[in-house]
Subunit: 201 residues, 2 copies
């Protein structure tokens, strides 16, 4: 795109680096930003930098948080004997919205996907294993997407945890196979949490 | 959306202020930004602020530019006797891509749309009239969208310019090149029949 301003071009370039945002969409959005006051644009711009500089991963569960320990891990009312393993924080939001779960989480930060070059070493698996070693939970829930990659990750984790005496469960397949977790409706997701099944049955 | 970090929430809030970006999409994009290095996020953030602080409107045609006068107005090879009136800079990009026009432009910055609260005073019409007064072009081309609002704006400008001896033209409307006749809408097909051209011109 041959834009009449280098600064405009750079802004379009940056915005279209986001997944799913093409050059034409980016230009439309950038012209909207350009019509705002300088104060508004300042607030817009700094929001991303402030986020990057301040947001950290919870030392326990790797959820994003403004503090060392996230508000779920630091909540004494949550049941610390259950750990629910999810792919990213959007899955936590989806599960929290069901109001059917009171345990803790562990965010893997992705799932094993050789096609995308994501192996076990790229995920928060070591921290999960040492966390389980220390805190000795009664139950681990696998709550990954019902896809090939999710299943692969489930099996990898299952093999790693098989020798321990922890009950390993997985969400019941009320969630449609092939669908991503975060798009499941709350009722289905809630039901499949309640009806979770022993993984090795 | 009840996010586990205030900074994350603010970034999602800001990104979803863009037209067509909902909260869920914004969160997906923000998590992508969060996975980048601080240097990358800095570059991303500052691109918008730098643009706002440096991009200005060309003093002549109101096109966006990094300088006082845009590269089209300052190009001595362009035909200054024709001014093409467009809605925004994306229309300039579309017309320039045709390589069929060598005149100048004037960017209105919108079209008259009472439903959206946009009146003639909100557009670059005064600057257009005084520009025409001074530079006395031979021809004005109306190149606004073929919608109710575009037509309204055309008529408003036509009334304002009617007393001058300038030739006023508008883009021809008709069946798109490469389109099959049977799929053209009735209004367009009717218009292209009425405005039929001599075949050997």
């Amino acid at each position: 795109m041959n834009l009449p301003s280098k600064h405009l071009e750079e802004a379009v370039e940056q915005l279209s680096s986001l997944p799913g945002i093409g050059k034409k969409t980016a230009l439309r959005l950038i012209l909207n930003i350009l019509n705002r006051t300088e104060e508004e644009v300042e607030k817009f711009s700094y929001s991303f930098l402030k986020m990057k500089q301040n947001v950290q991963n919870c030392k326990i569960c790797k959820n994003v948080t403004d503090f060392e320990i996230c508000f779920i891990c630091s909540n004494p009312k949550r049941d610390a004997s259950i750990i629910c393993i999810v792919e990213d924080i959007r899955d936590i939001l989806a599960i929290e919205a069901t109001q059917s779960y009171n345990g803790l989480y562990h965010v893997l930060g992705g799932i094993i996907s050789p096609m995308d070059g994501v192996g076990p070493k790229d995920l928060n698996i070591d921290s999960l294993l040492s966390r389980i070693e220390t805190s000795k939970p009664d139950e681990i829930i696998f709550a990954l997407s019902a896809t090939m990659e999710g299943d692969t990750t489930n099996f990898y984790l299952f093999k790693k945890l098989n020798n321990s005496n922890i009950k390993i469960t997985t969400l019941s397949r009320g969630v449609s196979i092939g669908a991503e977790l975060q798009y499941a409706d709350e009722l289905t997701l809630g039901r499949s949490l309640i009806q979770r099944q022993l993984f090795n049955q």
